[in-house]
């Protein structure tokens, strides 16, 4: 179609600023290509998820392996020990690979449990309304105001050691302090959906309440559920690494936070042993970045208007009062 029109073909070949953003061909390709942020964020996240799945298998040494038993100072990275050793002569590269599993497992576990909780609380509060809404909203507001990390420190530190090493216990406890944010967002959106015609008509034809919630409301909340899941995973990651760093939790298999704690307690920073603390710190930072980019991308899919001209539409200039929006995306937004 476009090849018959030389001017349009030229325009398509050359990403000139005059290119009409809503041109049919353009919008079709754009529609199937997620924003660059999603791609980059997804790639980073995938990398670390693969690392958590297969890293412990690929680690050259076990967590208890030591390079030698005589030397008490950390060794700088060499060709055979890529990230050097700590003061006990453990191979830090292996520890980084092995530690990725428990770190990511707990972050994602906490995210998943908290998401289930926040959907249950938020959607119920929003849809049922009345006294239930008042109670659940007050509950989530109180949880929002409580300093979650401090409470976790207090609750977890006296737990018996087997529980402290149990990923599910830790993930559950982290989730309990982190569901409220998502619940609030979901409640607000449920309130908005509740009055929509299709929900009202479902009610009128006598669908059961549970069916309306599960099949009419929840599917339309999915982008927000996804965003709150990712937000909670980021939160869980930070909290778990912090708990390990503070020495409140010390999983036997080790985690990135445990590595940081070891570095801190041996004053690795003051001694300049950068290979000890820098890799785990950067790994945590990168996972967080990857997830945050994903979340940004989801935000832009939910609300196409906030898309940046730099990443979204090549060179379309924003003008006051007129927001150029790719038509396909706008239609998706309206449908929602």
């Amino acid at each position: 179609m476009t090849s018959l029109d030389p001017a349009l073909a030229a325009a398509a070949a050359d990403p000139a600023p005059q290119l009409e953003p809503a041109a049919p061909r353009h919008s079709r390709t754009r529609r199937h290509r997620p924003p660059a942020k999603v791609l980059v964020g997804g790639a980073i996240t995938l990398f670390f998820v693969l690392m958590a799945l297969f890293g412990p298998l690929l680690a050259p040494h076990s967590a208890s392996w030591v390079a030698n038993t005589t030397n008490g100072t950390p060794q700088a990275p060499t060709g055979s020990l890529w990230l050097g050793t700590d003061n006990m002569q453990h191979d830090l590269f292996s520890l980084l690979l092995i530690g990725s599993r428990s770190t990511l497992l707990i972050a994602f576990l906490a995210g998943a449990i908290a998401t289930v909780l926040s959907v249950a609380v938020g959607v119920t509060a929003g849809y049922v309304g009345g006294v239930a809404d008042e109670i659940l909203s007050a509950l989530s507001n109180i949880f929002l105001a409580l300093p979650g990390l401090l409470i976790l420190m207090v609750i977890i530190s006296p737990l018996p050691v087997p529980d402290k090493g149990n990923s599910f216990v830790i993930g559950l406890v982290v989730a309990i302090t982190s569901w409220a944010y998502g619940a609030r967002a979901l409640r607000a959106q449920t309130l908005a959906l509740r009055g929509q015609d299709y929900v009202v008509s479902a009610r009128v034809i006598g669908e059961r309440r549970i069916r309306i919630i599960l099949f009419e409301i929840v599917p339309n909340l999915l982008p927000i559920v996804a965003a709150s899941f990712i937000f909670t995973v980021i939160y869980g990651l930070g909290v778990y690494v912090a708990l390990c760093y503070l020495g409140v939790v010390s999983p036997s298999s080790g985690s990135w936070g445990t590595m940081l704690q070891g570095a801190q307690s041996n004053s690795a920073i003051g001694n300049g042993w950068w290979w000890w603390y820098l890799p785990p710190a950067l790994a945590v930072a990168l996972v967080g970045l990857g997830l945050a980019l994903l979340n940004f991308g989801i935000d832009e899919i939910i609300n196409p208007r906030i898309r940046s001209a730099r990443t979204g539409r090549g060179g379309v200039k924003f003008q006051l009062g007129l927001t150029p929006v790719v038509r396909a995306a706008a239609r998706e937004g309206d449908a929602r």
């Binding site: 942020k37 007050a138 507001n141 109180i142 929002l144 105001a145 409580l146 300093p147 979650g148 990390l149 401090l150 409470i151 420190m153 207090v154 609750i155 530190s157 006296p158 737990l159 018996p160 944010y181 609030r184 980021i234 939160y235 990651l237 930070g238 690494v241 912090a242 760093y245 503070l246 020495g247 409140v248 920073i269 003051g270 300049g272 950068w274 603390y277 820098l278 710190a281 950067l282 945590v284 930072a285 967080g288 970045l289 997830l291 945050a292 980019l293 940004f296 935000d299 609300n303 208007r305 906030i306 940046s308 001209a309 730099r310 990443t311 200039k317 924003f318 006051l320 009062g321 927001t323």
Partner: protein, 329 residues
Amino acid sequence: MSLLIRRIGFYVLAAYAAITLNFFIPRLLPGNALDAVLTTMRGEITPQELAGMAAQYGIDSKQSLLAQYFTYIGHTLSGNFGFSTSKQVPVSTVLGGELPWTVGLIGTATVLAFLLGTLIGVIAGWKRGGLIDAVVPVSAFFQAVPYFILGLLLLIIFGADLHWFPIGGGYDATSRTVTYVQGWNWPYMSSVLQHAVLPAATVVLASIAGWIVGMRNMMITTMDEDYVLVACAKGLPRWRAMAIAARNAILPTISNFTLSISLVVTGAILVEVVFNYPGVGLEMFNAVQSTDYPLIQGILLVVTLAVLIANLLADFAYIVLDPRSRREA
């Protein structure tokens, strides 16, 4: 007005819930507070002391749980948080020494982050796709990285590597040339400021992203409003039109911020541990290590109340700034 009463009612309820939770935490955990103290106790202890301590924790077996609960609430309301077992001084004394550091650090950093972040967000949203808008993905990095990891990275780069700033503590006790005297004198104050730069920068960098992103996205939504178009059509200078949009965009940002206050505070408290900064956060860390329950309870309570008060202030600001919120009530 009724909205205000409702909000205050909620905060009273939340404060009550926090106090109750605080009461039950040490009692639900395995072992009781007194056992924890006794295991860490060195030296001998007289039966009178033991009885006194038991009374202090309200685990006097003669008292019912309900009676203990009311005693605890009564003590808390009168500002009596008990006696720190690891420091052997009243908890309120410990808190009095630590709070100024924490409030100074977090308060200053939060205000700075708000002012800078809002300004950057307004400009980024106004000139969408411009140079400043490119800052947004960068700020995502700071938002996503846990506070204390960001603190560690700053500490590594600017403290340990470049030696621009000290790598820990709140002030210097002595140095080669001067002996510092705590108080309002320049050498001591400058030492305090120097030590505060990195922790404050961490909190600012970590919390600024939320303001930038929230403000930018609200600006973009607000700029489509008719009143902004009218302002431009009237021929107002660009910056005046921008100010009109910004004034309206800032409201939802404030109410969003109230949701994240507790995240900022807990994050900042961890930063204190990283920088060995002599505030409430470091104290909390030490208290958990030495299972000093009265101190832990005191800190938890003060931090929770501080978060609630910050929330209340943000609510007030919202009601003052937005006439609609008053009418809807």
